[in-house]
Symmetry: D2
Subunit: 298 residues, 4 copies
């Protein structure tokens, strides 16, 4: 039986680890919050990240930001990283959504001592984590991905190989920046149509099958009442939060700055989301609530 170590048991990591247990793996978990360790039924608790990473076939991390991932693997200040303490045949999968530079730095550190590492950020939210239907966007060696596949398949429904180390992070932030652009653009187009007398559902249907067609119109319409089940139809509760979109947009813009790319549309969307959070106190709402910036009374 394949053994898996798992560190980072929050809203995403917890259910992911639980799905690995359910999938028949021998799972060892660690989190700085003891209650989260206890919450993963059927897993064994480890005393430290290093202990969770010790003597396992596959080690998975799910952490908030690049500094945490760097710290875990490479060390920070006086605290040593865990890379040096791992078996050389342990496959490392970092599922955190972090900046590509950190992802590449840690993968490089792993490679130097002969360890294989994948960056495999996810999309699909907490529902996807719970239902095992996440999408993984993976950077790293093809062969490492093949080894990882049986494990990832217990947690997700789609696996994409984006390229070498860091490519998973790059692809994810490109996608999410584009998502912010099209959601914001869709919201303002709907507001323009409605304020000129159109029915939002009719306009949505027309654009969906025309050249304005996009994911938001297909499955995540931001206008209340158009699409049953979408966050817009339940006061923008749940879903993918404005604050999480802001985080991903921050990563995208950092990446663009580092590579000297212009991203005027993504930058404007990021600023509109920031204004939306500030004036509408909307950090905890679904990101389709950007509709309220264009039509405050929806």
């Amino acid at each position: 039986m394949t053994s898996v170590g798992f560190v980072g048991l929050g809203n995403m990591g917890g259910p992911m680890a639980a799905n690995l247990v359910a999938g028949g793996f021998d799972v060892k978990v660690f989190d700085l919050v003891p209650d989260l360790v206890a919450a993963v039924d059927g897993a064994s608790g480890a005393d430290s990240a290093a202990a969770a990473a010790s003597e396992v076939d596959v080690f998975i991390s799910m952490l908030p930001a690049g500094q945490h991932v760097r710290g875990l693997y490479l060390g920070a200040g006086d605290a040593p990283g865990i890379l040096d303490q791992m078996n050389e045949d342990t496959l490392i999968i970092d599922c955190s959504t972090i900046d590509a530079a950190s992802a590449r730095a840690v993968a490089e550190g792993a490679k130097e001592i002969g360890l294989s590492m994948l960056d495999a950020p996810v999309s699909g939210g907490t529902a996807g984590a719970e239902n095992g239907t996440l999408t993984f966007i993976v950077g790293g060696e093809e062969s490492a991905l093949e080894r990882a596949r049986p494990v990832l398949e217990k947690m997700g429904a789609n696996i994409f190989h984006a390229g070498g180390a860091g490519a998973g992070q790059v692809a994810k932030i490109c996608n999410n920046m584009l998502l912010a652009v099209l959601m914001t653009g869709t919201a303002e187009a709907l507001a323009l149509g409605v304020d000129n007398g159109l029915d939002p559902a009719v306009l949505s249907e027309i654009m969906k099958v025309s050249s304005g067609g996009n994911w938001a119109l297909n499955v995540y319409n931001p206008y209340p009442g158009v699409m049953e089940g979408a966050p817009a139809s339940r006061d923008y509760q749940g879903g993918f939060l404005v604050d999480l979109m802001r985080k991903d947009l921050g990563l995208a813009l950092q990446t663009a700055q580092a590579s000297g790319n212009s991203t005027p549309m993504g930058s404007l969307a990021a600023n509109l989301y920031q204004v939306h959070r500030d004036v509408n106190d909307s950090g905890g709402l679904d990101f389709s609530s950007i509709q309220k910036l264009f039509k405050p009374d929806v």
Copy 2:
């Protein structure tokens, strides 16, 4: 046999009229340029717009801008409009893409004297006009649309009813504004990915089936070499020209200004298209060439 009058025989109107002839209608045509009249085989030429509109079951106009449509129907200066000279049972269909205010003004003028009028702007470009596969987005009465349907079906493959008078124009410019936003956003996301080491085809595939999915990724990828047959793969020749997109964006922004709507993403896209035309002299290129603003060397 249904008789149809047709005024405005340019790149779009000419083939549309030809398709009506081919569809078995009795077609009477007029254009200020005599050669264009002569070019519609099988149609009879009229000496004036009023003559083309006289004693027909259906009258269709396909003109460049709102002022031309207002002038044709309502008159301009000393020149009288043709509305007063038409049979009261003639159905009017204006297929021009114009500002909604003009569309509503003309429809109102027609209604006052008992005439039915539809605004029915098209999408699909010259290829759609030639192949009879245009999309019509129609504003006006449902009953008028039913009368128009047999005629429209000879010229197009899709017919949408957007709402009352002017709604066709509103829906079209909402759609095209959104199209500009998603094409621009897609282009900048692809440039960001490529400059961070990703293959544009791989990144396109990932985003297409993820939350960044949109029409541009599906059928009109702006990055050269990714999609065979797309304008991007033939030096951005043909397709939907930058100057036409600029015109449509102008209509969208005028409409937004009139209704007091904010459209920050659409406005930025319009400005980027303007900069693109200025610095890249790209008015005559396909609109997906906006890719060059983010990656000059593609």
Copy 3:
């Protein structure tokens, strides 16, 4: 004694006409609202715009928008314009802030029948109108401006000659678009500094004498408490209203669209003002209240 006709006696026109009376001119006034006519002490009331324009040395109009100015001078529908009814030696001065195309069209109409016309939009607000300290930005012939100067000097403190017909309007909207950009930019820079620990007054002083120096920092600081007497220090009451700035930005963007100019910064400022009005219900606040978009709790 020079005789002056004056049409349009609102918040601006009323005090301007009163200053002409005080300056010793023989003033004849008209407005569609009779009470406004009666309110100009010392002026004689006319029964119509045409009557006010009849047999005067100078005729001045102060109207809301281009359509009103076109209608007044050139006629609209069945109503004739007043140009044809004026003495050929009457000098026309339109002080309205309108689109340059309308200004040019009316000046052209005047010229065709031998009349001299100036476009002379003002800045300085109602306080400037009352105190006779307006700034006039004038388009038209130099010789006409010299004839106008004694009249304008009773109403204003500064007179600029921007160029030929329409140039006054163009210069004013260029200036006001730039004003919107620098006010918005100043507000966001101040918010950024304050949220990073700086005192807004100290930061303002530093930027004022550095390369960030601009009119807003000099005399119209948007941050509450920094500048006594500025609208920001009295809850953004009075001053130059958001809705008036929105109107001027609309004229600027129409002009840019007509001439095929990109104005990304002006367009974004216009959209931010629109969002600000929508989410903060701020149409009636001073335009420096854009500060609230970047720091809602000021």
Copy 4:
């Protein structure tokens, strides 16, 4: 005689150190490039940064980025920082333009071991460095600034106290972000006026004394031919380079992201500068060359 250590002798640091020598200080200098050390006549060369910082009354650093400043003072990897090796009565002045977080981190490190530190980024460019007319924007204790003043006065003409540690950096990037906004806004306003028939010099004069007045119009007009001596009138050679403005905008946007501020105007200006560099290959031109984005043929 006051002794000063100086590290970082590039285009800015070299002349600054020379001015200290000329001002009568006993100056000890270091740079990784030996030729730069030799170029400072009258200074003694040190073998290392630590040697230059040893036993001096004042120590000054002028380095490219936050990572270099952190590395110098706090160490990086195995290389120790110099803080631990300095006299406790040595006053530290970092004149680098870096991110505020790094400035605060280093100041904190200094404070922990009893050393006083100022962040004192400059403006004024290489000409200001050579002529001793720089502007210093200083963060740190008032008492430390008083000690620093005699030294700073040999290198600069203006000294501002922005606040506590890091405040100098914050104030500088706020100012420079605002500068980018007003330069870009001025350039687009001038292009709009010119393309509508105005003379750029006349329009500039009008806006300069109106509410559009700003530093660019006063001393740095971006339109060629308007202002003798400005970079615009010498093909945008020299001055403050586009690439340096891009660097400062990057710092501003990083700071805004860290503090959760929206800066839509600054972000758009940053993206326009990026596009300008990409399509016009303008990284080495003066930053007022942004005019070319709005009027390619200037």
